[in-house]
């Protein structure tokens, strides 16, 4: 069924991606090497944590194979879904394919194959690294052959389900969309049930195959939904009077007028693209996840190893880092790349680079208060933390936002990606490297004051305020460096 047209389109995409990847490796060999070291290091850390968890006799929660597999499935599925929405359903460049004498069905299959291929590649790479680490360092993760069978089945199921969900999210009629997603979303429930059922492990694999088959049928039959969804996803609103406010002035006057105007432009665009809402929504999900942990484990989880009192602070810290990464770091990485071919507009404006950088980052940071409010505060309130501990967490979240924002701004000018087909999103090397740099630096800037806080509350808070001051200086300096690099940028595309 997926004959010539599909494979030709697919190979064109892969060729383009490969050339882009090769270009980046040649251009930035050290960054690539650093990326590989960080990637291997990341997996090493995960395996170490697995070893550590195995050493805890009486875990307050069950870490079954089913749980681990479901998390892997869910991550790949979500990734596939987001990629489908951003790179396919909202990709205006696909008009070149649709205007060619190729059936929309073949375009759909080629896009699916792309999502499928990348996720398969990711899993293959991960398994290769894990195998290398297991043989090299003698790790003994508690998995059996059925874990691997089920993993392979889930690696196939996740992109198919993720792709179908991504397509369905672009359905125009809200009621039909919700019903469709509710109905089809039951596949996720089926996967969860299969992985947590009492039946023999060998049969779970067959259940998963059945789910793959059903989802594949949906993929084959959803040409019309795909075609309409793409049209809906790429069409702008022709509704009149979209103005949020008269002539788009809605930020306070005390801001520098140039910075304010740049920020207003960014905020309007992000608002219309529903990006601000969705990132705040993800932050709310992270906050909800922390509350779920609290409900499941209670206020005093017994982990053994004398680590109990650190459990929630560390968990909240991880939640804060994740929220700052998704809401601050990743959007700021594409500050300039997302301008695409319209980059000439800001580049030819009589506005200082500093004001452009500040306006753009302001548009991201303005939604930042959602992070402390949704992630840093709710669980400490439930746990009955004292005011000083809550203040510590609030200041830590501000510190992380500024730190990740400054890394993002700097990298967005240093390594911009003007590829409109991915909406200016940076390549995986940049994303992962900056994320790990953010993790490392956040760890240093927060853990030292946290250790002091454990000894003496006042000293800890003072240390954190000092760290916040240092990070503010880093933010200022990296913004200035970014402004300098922005001046040198050329629009040679």
């Amino acid at each position: 069924m997926m004959k010539e047209g599909t494979l030709e389109l697919f190979s064109t995409e892969i060729k383009q991606s490969y050339r882009g990847f090769r270009g980046r490796v040649v251009e930035r060999p050290l960054m690539t090497l650093w990326f590989i070291i960080l990637l291997v290091g990341g997996f090493w850390m995960v395996l170490m944590m697995v070893e550590l968890v195995q050493g805890i006799d009486d875990l307050p929660f069950t870490l079954s194979q089913g749980n681990v597999l479901f998390v892997i499935f869910f991550v790949i599925m979500s990734k596939a879904s987001v990629e489908t929405v951003e790179n396919t359903m909202k990709n205006d460049q696909l008009k070149h394919y649709f205007s060619a004498p190729v059936s929309p069905r073949k375009v759909q299959y080629s896009r699916f194959l792309k999502v499928f291929w990348y996720n398969l590649l990711l899993v293959a790479l991960s398994l290769a690294i894990v195998s290398f680490l297991i043989s090299g360092f003698g790790f003994e993760p508690p998995i059996d052959q059925y874990f691997l069978y089920q993993l392979y089945a889930l690696v196939v199921a996740a992109p198919i389900i993720g792709f179908n969900i991504g397509v369905m999210t672009q359905f125009k009629d809200l009621l039909k969309k919700v019903l469709l997603l509710l109905f089809y979303g039951q596949n996720i429930t089926l996967v969860w049930l299969a992985l947590h059922s009492d039946i023999a492990a060998s049969y779970i694999f067959y259940y998963l195959l059945a789910i793959i088959f059903l989802s594949f049928i949906v993929l084959l039959c959803s040409k019309e939904v795909f075609w309409r969804g793409w049209k809906n996803g790429t069409s702008a609103s022709s509704t009149k009077d979209l103005r949020l406010h008269d002539n788009s002035d809605f930020l306070p006057d005390f801001l520098d007028p140039m910075t304010r105007k740049v920020a207003e432009k960014e905020i309007l665009i992000r608002w219309r693209r529903k990006e601000s809402l969705s990132t705040v929504g993800v932050t709310a999900l992270i906050g909800g996840g922390l509350i779920f942990f609290y409900i499941q484990l209670g206020p005093d989880p017994d982990l053994g190893l004398g680590l109990d009192e650190f459990f929630y602070p560390v968990l909240i810290g991880m939640g804060l880092f994740l929220a700052c990464t998704l809401q601050i770091l990743f959007p700021s990485l594409s500050l300039f790349g997302r301008e695409g071919k319209a980059f000439w507009l800001i580049k030819s404006l009589p506005v200082r680079p500093r004001n452009i950088i500040r306006g753009k980052i302001l548009a991201i940071l303005i939604f930042g208060p959602a992070i402390p409010l949704l992630v840093a505060v709710p669980v400490p309130l439930l746990l009955g933390y004292s005011l000083d501990r809550i203040l510590f967490l609030l200041l830590s979240s501000i510190l992380m936002m500024l730190l990740l924002g400054s890394i993002g701004v700097w990298a967005s000018v240093k390594y911009p990606n003007f590829d409109e087909s991915v909406n200016g999103a940076p390549d995986v090397t940049t994303m992962y490297t900056t994320m790990m740099a953010g993790l490392f630096l956040s760890g240093i800037f927060v853990s030292i004051p946290a250790s002091l806080f454990n000894l003496d509350v006042t000293m800890g808070l003072i240390a954190l305020v000092v760290a916040l001051g240092v990070v503010s200086v880093v933010f200022f300096m990296l913004s200035e460096l970014a402004a300098e690099s922005y001046e040198k940028m050329e629009m040679d595309f």
Binding site: S238, K240, I269, R272, A342, S348, L349
Partner: protein, 242 residues
């Protein structure tokens, strides 16, 4: 005045513009005439600071635009392709761009009203620009280029992809702006456009400026009947000798 002095631009091993020299006197319309890929857009992008020249200088009113923010009010630019912010409405876009170019708020509102009516955009000015046709986007960008009343206009293929009615309007407007004292540098590969409105034409091919003169001079120099014939003759002659 616009001056290009010994300008060259290389992209890796490719020399896209080779030692180009010309100047556009105040109030004149200078048209860079060349085939696709001749180097017209590269010269324009270097002039307005989107690219950095490898050698030589490009000046507007005696200033190098690249990296000098204050000088960016000295020109208005209309690109060949109407790439703009599709999720903003026409009014929001012009309001933000006008403000960033330092136009007074009240004046800006008046100008947006006036120009959107004059260009028949007023009924769609509060819709997202992603829903506009190419011609409508081009109109918005034209307003954007002149909204701050710059002394110089840089227009890259201003009539490409436009319907005959709007194309005619555009040519008329360019002439009017020139009469009002604005200096215009435009590029085109359509000889009839150059012949119709340019005071001076520069024929460019493979990054080299081959000849400069009024349309009449070029026709006389080559002994052809019109600018199209002169253009073909100049290019063919150069390629034969190369």
């Amino acid at each position: 005045m616009i001056e290009i002095k010994g300008l060259s631009k290389c992209f890796g091993d490719i020399r896209a513009v080779k030692d180009v020299d010309f100047q556009v006197e105040d109030g004149n319309i200078f048209c860079l005439l060349g085939s696709n890929g001749a180097g017209k857009t590269t010269i324009i992008k270097t002039l307005i600071g989107l690219l950095e020249g490898s050698e030589g200088r490009a000046l507007i009113d005696g200033k190098v635009i690249r990296n000098d923010v204050r000088c960016k009010t000295l020109f208005g630019y209309l690109p060949e392709q109407p790439h703009l912010y599709e999720r903003l409405t026409g009014r929001e876009f012009l309001d933000i761009m006008g403000s960033l170019k330092g136009v007074d708020k009240e004046k800006l509102d008046r100008l947006i009203e006036r120009w959107s009516k004059a260009l028949e955009l007023d009924r769609r000015i509060d819709s997202e620009m992603g829903s506009y046709s190419k011609g409508m986007k081009q109109k918005v960008l034209f307003i954007n280029a002149i909204i701050h009343d710059p002394p110089n206009l840089i227009l890259d293929e201003p009539t490409v992809g436009l319907d005959p009615r709007y194309s005619q309007f555009m040519k008329k407007k360019i002439r009017e702006l020139s009469r009002d004292g604005k200096t215009v540098l435009m590029s085109t590969h359509i000889t009839s456009v150059a012949e119709e409105i340019a005071d001076v034409v520069g024929i460019i091919d493979r990054g080299e400026l081959l000849t400069v003169g009024t349309p009449k001079e070029l026709v006389e120099r080559t002994g052809r009947n019109n600018l199209e014939g002169a253009f073909v003759e100049v290019i063919d002659d150069e390629r034969r000798n190369a």
